[in-house]
């Protein structure tokens, strides 16, 4: 062992001024900086060249929302709590129009039980639910004294699968479908919180079921039988 004093190398003292890794330039660092600049330039170029017009797909003749009128107390927002505070409450009546402009009045308590489905064109669960129910309706008979009504709501031309009128047509929806207003007033009046949303109303106009989420055939049939007026 040498008995010379050992002096640890100082980083600054061991290299010529201005040539250390922190102060000088090097090819790797230059490459990174140039790469970032090129990346930003490419991003700007792609954005300018793409120049897409999202409104192109939104061209349609039919209005997708329309004025509605609602009568009655709105139902509380559906939070999925048990028991549902809307149970046994009278469902609000509403008047709206179909995509063709035909007037439809939905009057709970008119002697016909109703199942009202709320659908948003952009919701992936609605996109699965609608054809399933359409297929069921096409292949099966509704229980006596029950009608099914679809409400197209939460319409947004900036979102996918627009316009909803074309969607309902493509899926060959066989029952009545009405347009909600731009402010989603029917949905609000029925306590809509998520899609798809289904409300069952008995023949006396009382809410007997509210469900958020997709329904399989079994649940759908149970709901229809549940709201149907007791025979005999």
């Amino acid at each position: 062992m040498s008995n010379r004093p050992r002096v640890p190398k100082s980083r600054r003292g061991s290299r010529p001024s201005g040539r250390g890794p922190d102060t000088g330039s090097n090819p790797l660092r230059k490459g990174i900086i140039i790469g970032v600049v090129v990346l930003v330039a490419v991003a700007v170029g792609v954005a300018l060249l793409a120049g897409r017009d999202a409104d192109q797909r939104a061209q349609t003749g039919a209005a997708q929302v329309s004025d509605v009128s609602i009568e009655g107390e709105p139902l509380p927002r559906f939070e999925g709590r048990e028991p549902d505070p809307a149970m046994e409450r009278r469902a609000p009546a509403f008047a709206a129009t179909t995509f063709d402009g035909a007037q439809v009045s939905v009057l709970p308590g008119d002697g016909t039980a109703k199942v009202i489905g709320f659908f948003a064109h952009w919701c992936p669960h609605c996109q699965r639910e609608l054809p399933r129910i359409a297929g069921w309706l096409a292949a099966n008979q509704l229980p006596a004294g029950v009608e099914v009504i679809a409400v197209s709501t939460s319409v947004d031309r900036g979102r996918s699968n627009y316009p909803p009128s074309a969607w309902f047509e493509e899926e060959q929806w066989p029952a009545v479908v009405v347009r909600d207003s731009a402010a989603n007033e029917i949905g609000e009046a029925y306590g809509l919180a998520g899609f798809p949303y289904t409300v069952g109303i008995d023949a006396d106009g009382r809410v007997v079921a509210r469900v958020a989420g997709e329904l399989n055939d079994e649940a759908w049939e149970f709901l229809l039988d549940f709201v149907a007026p007791a025979s005999g």
Partner: protein, 185 residues
């Protein structure tokens, strides 16, 4: 400039961040990482800061300018990304090479959330309902055919994580900067 064009712009930047982050992670683990990290040290954390800042700006653009309401998962990712900006800014301002230690957990946690959110968009059948206001399954942006907002966030987190990781390699092999007292043998 339309929202679609802005999305394409952010999508390309996000892919660039993905490449940078992957490269940073590989460079941090490969042989010669220390020398490479020392060479790049002055740009690593500033670049990570730039990625976090642009990601934050993009997030705010989508919610405030484009009007896309952030869903629950978006908010969780925002916690990570927004916090990265001041953390990295302080590290850069103070030239604190250990800043990577503070950025890395935020970026990794954010990346996990982004991956979960992105797969939720790809496979929405995991749930059965869409929230009426801000559903996590809905894909507001679909740029280049596969780039959505959580995908971009994930790329941002990967970029920050890769650069932070590489910056830590330069820290590990730092020589002492003070001259020790001369000790007699």
């Amino acid at each position: 400039m339309s929202t679609g064009q802005v999305s394409d712009f952010f999508a390309v930047l996000a892919l660039g961040s993905l490449v940078i982050g992957c490269w940073g992670a590989v460079a941090a683990l490969a042989s010669g990482a220390e020398a490479r990290a020392r060479q790049l040290r002055p740009v690593l954390l500033p670049l990570a800061l730039a990625i976090a800042a642009v990601s934050t700006a993009g997030s705010l653009y989508y919610s405030e300018a484009a009007g896309y309401p952030p869903c629950e998962m978006c908010w969780y990712q925002r916690i990570g990304m927004y916090a990265l900006v001041p953390v990295l800014a302080v590290a850069v301002a103070r030239r604190d090479r250990s800043g990577g230690w503070y950025a890395l957990p935020l970026a990794v946690a954010g990346l996990g959330l982004s991956v979960y959110h992105y797969q939720l968009q790809l496979f929405p059948a995991q749930g059965s309902t869409c929230d009426a206001e801000a559903p996590c399954t809905y894909q507001w942006v679909d740029s280049l055919g596969f780039v959505s907002i959580p995908f971009m966030a994930g790329c941002g987190f990967i970029g920050v994580a890769g650069l932070a990781l590489l910056s830590l390699r330069s820290e590990r092999h730092e020589a002492p900067t003070t001259v020790a007292a001369v000790e007699p043998a």
